[in-house]
């Protein structure tokens, strides 16, 4: 990895192309295989998943179509938050499709399709489309602070990938 790549921090682009969707693009300074592993290896995932100051335990992570993932996270106060979902498509190192449910809102399911694109210079771009059942749920997720939480989480991932 060159100094040039390290000097400009990567940032996420978040847009809302349709009323039930969120579109996210983010570049990481890591080869595609390594980045895909960070999303699918329980030991790596627990090191970056969640906003700054939170800790996450991967309870279950069965990365195959139909397999369940289940995380329990703690915030700075020690309050616990559960998250879970099901992997729909797993095509290393290109594509990962999974559902997402926050434990405090059972029944509110979103579906995320993440594409890992090799930029050819040792970097990888993730393009992620998240779809919700309703426009209200999409907006609720955005106003709950999804973008900020995700950015912090991705910065933690940057730090992990730099090691």
């Amino acid at each position: 990895m060159t100094d040039n790549q390290q000097s400009t921090p990567n940032t996420s682009t978040v847009t809302t192309p349709a009323e039930r969707e969120i579109h996210i693009e983010r570049v990481f300074n890591a080869p595609r295989e390594r980045l895909f592993a960070a999303f699918t290896d329980p030991e790596l995932t627990s090191q970056w998943w969640g906003p700054r100051g939170t800790t996450t335990v991967v309870v279950e992570m069965d990365v195959r179509p139909g397999g369940i993932w289940r995380f329990v996270s703690k915030d700075s106060d020690g309050s616990e938050f559960g998250f879970r979902g099901v992997y729909r498509e797993v095509a290393p190192p290109e594509r990962l499709v999974q559902s997402f449910v926050f434990g405090g809102m059972p029944g509110y399911i979103s579906l995320e399709t993440a594409i890992f694109e090799d930029l050819g210079d040792g970097r990888t771009k993730i393009t992620s489309d998240v779809i919700f059942y309703t426009n209200e749920e999409r907006d609720g997720m955005l106003s709950a602070g999804m973008e900020k939480g995700m950015n912090e989480s991705f910065e933690r991932l940057d730090e992990l990938l730099a090691t």
Partner: protein, 114 residues
């Protein structure tokens, strides 16, 4: 409360049918006789009368006999109970997101830091 619930059940039940919703839309443009209402649907007059009775019981439609025909128009109910229920449901949704927001913002940490 029980009375309200029954009314809401009746309203939602009446709305839970595409033909009945189209009848409401049609009557929103002006009153019509049962046969006029039935005309665009491939349905017997008896079938349409049943639908109109359901709408009438939910007070979404009123009918009156005019000569030999029965004339239908929109009833007194304006779906207030339905919109109230939806508003309340949306509030619940926001409150649920507040809890997720606590995690995403990790408010304690940020408040101390910056």
């Amino acid at each position: 409360m029980v009375q309200c619930q029954r009314q809401l059940d009746q309203t939602l039940g009446a709305l839970a049918d595409p033909t009945r919703r189209q009848v409401l839309e049609r009557l929103g443009r002006g009153s019509a006789t049962v046969s006029e209402v039935a005309e665009p649907f491939e349905m017997s007059l008896t079938g349409m009368k049943k639908h109109i009775r359901v709408l009438e019981e939910a007070e979404l439609v009123t009918t009156e006999k005019v000569g030999r025909a029965r004339r239908c128009s929109l009833g007194p109910r304006q779906l207030e109970d339905v919109t109230e229920w939806i508003d309340a449901y949306r509030r619940t949704l926001e409150e649920r997101f507040d809890r997720l927001g606590e995690f995403l913002e990790n408010r304690k940490e940020i408040g101390d830091d910056r």
